[in-house]
């Protein structure tokens, strides 16, 4: 595919601290609004989903990535292209299930949580849950139903931050109803 050749794929760079702090403000506001960690997790996931379904279009337009042939390729694109493009980090892909339908993204450092210390009364808060929603939403738009969740989080005392992704099914395209 040569269609990208005459276009610059440079993204606009900006200070990531502004992004991190804005996200922090969002989470702390949600904590005030809901007073229940589970509900905050749910809201973050929902917002992430809404971002993901739009973000995928930007991603596809800016990278020359075509349709992925299998889940391994998907994992590579997410870790090496997408995370790099939007968060400036490259997580490693590990812990494949034998069937090849599950893997983990290990984040050395989580750009959303740079200045964060979770207080003791928020031990069920999944601080960066927005990422899960965004991954789920983006993949849904390319016909993949995927389950995404944090398996480990340095904010909660784990040694690494791990996002676990499980492929559920391919979403089949169907002819709209009423078509003959």
């Amino acid at each position: 595919m040569s269609r990208q050749s005459n276009r610059t794929t440079d993204s606009k760079k900006m200070n990531s601290e502004l992004f991190t702090l804005t996200y922090g403000a969002l989470v702390s506001q949600l904590c005030k609004d809901y007073e229940n960690d589970e509900e905050v997790n749910k809201q973050l996931d929902k917002m992430g989903y809404n971002i993901g379904v739009r973000l995928i279009e930007d991603f596809l337009a800016r990278s020359s990535v075509g349709r992925c042939q299998d889940f391994r390729e998907t994992a590579d694109v997410i870790a090496k292209v997408a995370f790099k493009m939007y968060l400036g980090v490259t997580p490693s892909v590990t812990n494949w299930s034998p069937a090849g339908d599950e893997f983990s993204l290990i984040l050395e450092n989580n750009p959303l949580a740079d200045f964060v210390e979770l207080p003791d009364n928020h031990n069920t808060l999944v601080y960066s849950n927005l990422l899960c929603g965004a991954l789920r939403g983006a993949l849904e738009m390319v016909q993949m139903a995927v389950d995404v969740k944090f398996a480990q989080d340095t904010l909660r005392g784990d040694s690494v931050t791990e996002i676990r992704m499980k492929f559920i099914k391919r979403i089949e395209e169907n002819l709209p109803a009423g078509d003959e």
Binding site: R7, R54, D58, A61, E173, P176
Partner: protein
């Protein structure tokens, strides 16, 4: 050289956008029916092409031509389908369609939070920019060399 018309379909088959510039012959059916007919044909061609291909394909269906016009097709991995009809002198409109997707659709529709693509695009900015872009294409004018 000329551009006849353009269709943009979403992944569910609804026609998000249609515009025509140089269309001498109308279908004689309502636009809704025409959109369904067009989408149905594209859907069938895609499945036909993928079943008949003797080799694995990368991009799949790209275009077809008749004695009078050529239909150019671009589908993104997210299922957005762009269809441009031109006369036969336009060999490939792939770059053009890609430009419409990345520089107009993504920039003006997807990145506009107030603009939800379905059921049909109502962004005036997108419509006017797209119109201006198509009119500026080197192969737009019927008289240009």
């Amino acid at each position: 050289m000329t551009v006849h018309n353009i269709y943009i379909f979403d992944r569910n088959g609804s026609c998000l956008y249609y515009n025509e510039w140089n269309r001498k012959k109308q279908a004689g059916i309502s636009k809704e029916e025409e959109f369904k007919l067009m989408y149905g044909m594209l859907f069938s061609i895609r499945s036909f092409v993928s079943k008949m291909s003797p080799l694995d394909m990368k991009d799949g269906f790209l275009s077809f031509q008749t004695s009078k016009y050529r239909l150019h097709y671009l589908e993104t991995p997210s299922g957005l389908k762009l269809v441009l009809n031109t006369d036969l002198s336009v060999n490939s409109a792939r770059e053009t369609l890609q430009h419409i997707y990345s520089n107009l659709y993504v920039e003006l529709v997807v990145k506009n939070p107030a603009c939800s693509p379905a059921p049909s695009l109502d962004s005036e900015l997108f419509c006017s920019r797209l119109d201006a872009f198509v009119r500026s294409l080197p192969f737009f004018s019927p008289r240009a060399a």
